[in-house]
Structures are given as C-alpha cells and as structure tokens.
Symmetry: C2
Subunit: 355 residues, 2 copies
C-alpha cells in the first residue's frame, strides 16, 4: 500500500488536523465526537445545513463548509458512517434557532444514524429535517444501500441549499428545495481501478488491465457491470444514456413530519431530463483520474447533450466527490430552472468548491 | 494503459475541445497553432500574461486563464514544449499595446522556444519579456533542464503577476515582480508512482511496492534519489528541510534588454526562507494522490514551520501542477511580503485556481 500516511490508526485524525490548520480562518475541527464547523457558527437568523458520511470522498463534505454552503460536516472513518452523536453535537453547535437541514447520502448506515441524530435533536427542541440524496441511476440496491446511492447531486444540493439558506429560506422551504434538487438530478459513474483503504491495505476489488466497471459507487464497492475497457467516447455514451434513459424513478422515503411529530413514509418521483431542458453538468474525477481526461469526457458529453436538445447551462469539471485514489469518472446532470441557477451562481467561500 | 481516452493521436485536441466547451464563457481555444486565450482579449491598457509548456500538468496552464491571472496559454503535446509560433500568435492575439510577459518554466525546450517567440514578437513591434521560473531545490540539472526546474512557484507567479497587471503594473514592473516571486519561492516534490503518457503506454519509470522517489520533476522523469518508502511525516520533513536548507542559490539567466535590444546574461540570487518570515504554503498533488493525503502532509508541514519560526500566511492544498496520474506530493513555500499577499488575495476567475 503506497500512501502518504503514518500509522493507519491515526490517518483520519491527522488529516483533519491538517484540514483545520490549513483553513483555520474559515472553520474549526471538533474531536470526540468529530465534526467540522464554520468558525462563525451559529449564523444568526439562518437555517443551518449539516452533511456528513464516511471519509474518503474529499473534498466532500468537509471541503464544502463555509459561507454559501454547509455550516458543519460529520466525517466518519473512511467509508464508514458517522455516529449519531457526531451529528447531534454538530446540530447543537450550529443551530441558530432557525432549525437544521441534514443532507444525507442514501447509504443504509448514514440514513439510520442521521435519523437517530435527528431524534436526539428533536428531544432537545431543535427542529431538524433529513433529506436523502439518491441520484445514482446505475444501482438500485447494493451491499451498502437499499435503493439508489447518493453521488454528485449531493454536492449540488449542498451548494444550492446553502445559498438559499443565506437568502433567507426557512426550514420548510429548504427541505422542499433540497428534495427538488434530488428529484431533478441524476448521476452515473465508472471505474478503471479500485481504491485501497488504509485499514485494508489491498484493493477493494480487482480489475484486469483490460477491464472496467460501469455503475460504481463511491465506497470502492464493485460496479453494476464489469466489461472490457472501452474508449472514452463509448464510456461517455453509456453514462449519458444511462442518465437520460432513466425516467420517473420513484422511491419511498422516511421523512420527519412536523404535524405528526413522527417519521412518515412519503413517495418521491424524479423528473426526467428531456429535450429542451437546461442542465448543470458535472464531470467528476473519482480521485486518481487526472483533470485532462475529464475534459475528453466533457467534450463527448457536450456533443451528446446537444444532439439530444439539452443545453448545458453551467459546467463543473474536477474533483468533487471521490473514492480515495480510484481511477474513473462520474457524470451528474441536474435539470436546472431559474431558482436552481440563481443559487448555483450565488457567492460561496469554501475550500473545495470550484467551477 | 488504462485511461479515459480515444485514439492516442487525438488526446490533446479532444481534451482542449472539451476544455473550450466547458469554459466558453471565459475563454476560447485556437488550433493550428494551438493556444487558449481570454475571450475578451486584448484587455485594454493591461500588460498581457502568457505562459505555456508541455501538457499533462493540468490545471496548469490553461486552467489559469481568466481575469486576475493569464491572458493566454500555449499547450504543447504531453510533456513536450510548445513551438515558437504558438506563443507568437498568442502574443499577437492578446497584446493590447502594453506589452506581454512570458512566464516560462525552466525546461530547455520551453526556454528556447519562448525566446524564439519573443524574437518574433519583437520583430513585429510587440514588447515582450521572458521570466524564467526555476524553483525546484532538488535538482540542479536533469535530462530536461540546465539548472533547476520550474514547479509550483509558476502557479503563484501567474496569480500574483496577473493581479498586479490588473492593478496597472507596467511591463517593467511586472518583469521585476515575477523575478521577485521566483527569487522568493522554492519547491520540492516526491513520487510514490510514475505516470503513463498516452503516447508511451508504459510507466516513465518503475518503482517497487516499497520504493519512492524524492526530488521528482513534473515530466515523469525519475527523481534525485530513490529510497525505501517512508512515512508521511518523514517525507514531509525531507521536503520542508530541503526547501529551508536551500540558501542563496544563484543562477545565470538569459534576459531581454530593452536598452541593448538583445539578450543579456544576468545573475539572480534567491532569498532564503528564514525565521520570522511569513510564507504562502502550497501542498500540491502530483495528480493521483487524493486530497485527504495532502492534508496529512499539511499537518506535519505546519508543525515544522511553526517550530522554525515561520508563519503560514496563506494555505493552498490541492491539484495545482500535476504529472498526469502520478502519485506523490510537492511542497512550495513562497516568502511573502505585503505586495505579494495583496496580489495573492486579489480577485480571480479562472477554471483552475482555488485556495
């Protein structure tokens, strides 16, 4: 295992110390329990946004803390869900009295632990809502998730909802906006290589020199399908058509009801992305794929979308949500209306956001 | 060779098309000869900044085109110098009449071709100055370079001089500022793995599972020393002490003299970084190393600098100047005064700059 680390047991702590030190003008790191928060939290008269999940997906989520995005993030160990006390303590730290929105990627452990944290916060009188992001069109169920997994739309939900919170959206409005972003956004990814967690020391799966995985997750889990390595154009076609062919996906979500003061099941149906739509388009490195290759993928994606009558309103190319040093790419498309574009374009100051 | 590419011969062209398409609000790509330029060039009453060099170091240089940084960049083939006609045509495109500063990394082919381009521009009546960046303390000579190589200080020279050009610095002042950045900045890098160019298809050198290279360049060339893989803390100590122990380096540069209308040899001596100094500190991924590992390196670097009485005034952690998918890290320290910090902090809008 070739990594820039010291003792395997200290990896996360040392990285978080470095993160806190590098960005000490903007944020602080709390240990035991572990969460990272805006230095100026709580921000008065603003709903607070908290996300989190297993580490290893940097810059997600810690890199998106700051004005215009998150108020706090709760990193678990690498590819391991954070515990409820992390989110509970973070919520107490950043709540200004306007309530807290939890943005949760759809992995079984994350969903359960964020829900437990919400219950703990409710008991303390903090109004918390959980919105699940499940945008991966490739995988309906996996060893990590019931239903679809959370991928690149998470980044856009954090950006857009963060800006709307700055603009005075209340908790009801932010919950609705975050669900809309999830309904309007879809992602699909692929890998050329697996990644290695420090704790394991060996690749999470093996791929031959001429093989690739389509429909990967972000935890080093194998993809939906293994196949012979294809050209960038062919791969891009598979990802774009996977997203555009995905129609009317409906999921049942566990959602907090303020009326019933309990969790209720609600159904949520996606909007398809169709001819005439504008989209925010993200081409994301899974970690080890260099930026230059992303632009090759972008080029083909732009041609395919133009041929489908879909306009790219905004572009993002780079490292947004990764799996350590995994080589591969994911594409995220978010159907964009004026509300989403307004908040996408709004000012932001975080270590990891860039366009 | 596992890469997201199509035909090897089309890699650069397709990637540049994607780059131009993704950032078409900001810049345009010209082919035959190849250069990328600010869409609004020439910018009136502003000295224009041009850089360039072999491709494969993204986001350098194309990603640093835009308000507050470069006016144009000239990408060569991967790890191959651009030809003089690229810089000449770019200079004609972006010169507003205030002249052009060429920021050139110290590789033999780059230096020669930028100098030829300057001669061609001089013949057309365009005032051009060349400033060489040679900040790599690890390697005095290599198969690519006479003298030191250009590394992370290039990024800072482009940022700081770009902002000063916006602020009205004339060509003499910008040339002096750029030389100061080079004199005040030092870098050192290391690799855990080599990279593979599409044209070669095999790694540029082989490293065993327990080996690393200290003092690498950014072209996939081997480093100054090969040794057993060490911990992140030990590696960081080697890089930081390599930079701090480097004192009074003097190089002879070929510089354009407006009085003599000819190239003259001038000597330039570095400033050492010493106790009491403030620095801008960059921890840079060579490409394949994930952001999280960079923060582990940052943590140790911050401890070492504090122990040396050196204050980190600004921090950069991420992908700034890379070698395709090479795994490794480089550290750059720039001794900072009020002038350098003012222009470091100035507004910028380019695809690749982030703090």
């Amino acid at each position: 295992m070739k990594k820039l680390i010291n003792d395997v047991d200290d990896v996360l702590k040392e990285q978080l110390q470095g993160f806190g030190s590098a960005h000490k003008d903007l944020l602080s790191v709390h240990f035991d329990p572990t969460f990272v928060y805006r230095k100026d939290a709580p921000v008065k008269k603003k709903v607070a946004l908290i996300s989190g999940g297993g580490s290893g997906h940097e810059p997600l989520h810690n890199g998106y803390i700051g004005p215009g995005m998150l108020d706090a993030a709760c990193p678990g160990e690498i590819f391991t869900s954070p515990t409820p006390d992390q989110m509970f303590e973070a919520a107490k730290k950043v709540d200004s009295g306007e309530g807290v929105l939890f943005i949760v990627k759809n992995y079984t452990g994350d969903v359960m632990n964020f829900e437990m944290a919400a219950d703990m916060a409710h008991d303390e009188g903090i109004d918390v809502r959980n919105v699940i992001i499940d945008d991966d069109v490739a995988v309906k169920d996996s060893s990590f998730t019931a239903g679809r997994r959370g991928m690149g739309v998470t980044v856009l939900a954090e950006k857009i909802c963060g800006a709307a919170a700055d603009d005075g959206y209340d908790l009801d409005q932010l919950e609705a906006l975050c669900k809309k972003v999830n309904r309007f956004g879809k992602s699909m990814g692929m890998a050329l290589s697996a990644c290695i967690t420090p704790a394991n020391g060996t690749p999470s799966f093996d791929l031959d020199e001429n093989e690739m995985e389509i429909g990967i997750g972000i935890h080093g889990e194998p993809g939906a399908e293994r196949m012979e390595l294809k050209s960038a154009d062919e791969i891009t076609e598979m990802l774009v058509s996977g997203i555009l062919d995905d129609e009317n996906y409906t999921r049942k979500l566990h959602e907090w009801s303020t009326e019933e003061k309990d969790w209720i099941d609600v159904e949520l149906t996606d909007e398809p992305i169709v001819k005439g739509d504008r989209v925010i388009a993200m081409v994301n490195s899974m970690g080890g794929t260099p930026i230059s290759e992303l632009y090759g993928v972008y080029s083909k994606m732009a041609q395919l979308l133009e041929a489908s009558g879909i306009e790219i309103a905004r572009s993002m190319v780079g490292h947004y949500i990764t799996s350590l040093e995994m080589q591969g790419v994911s594409i995220t498309l978010l159907k964009a209306d004026d509300e989403l574009l307004k908040y996408y374009d709004a000012p932001v100051n975080t270590p990891g956001w860039h366009k």
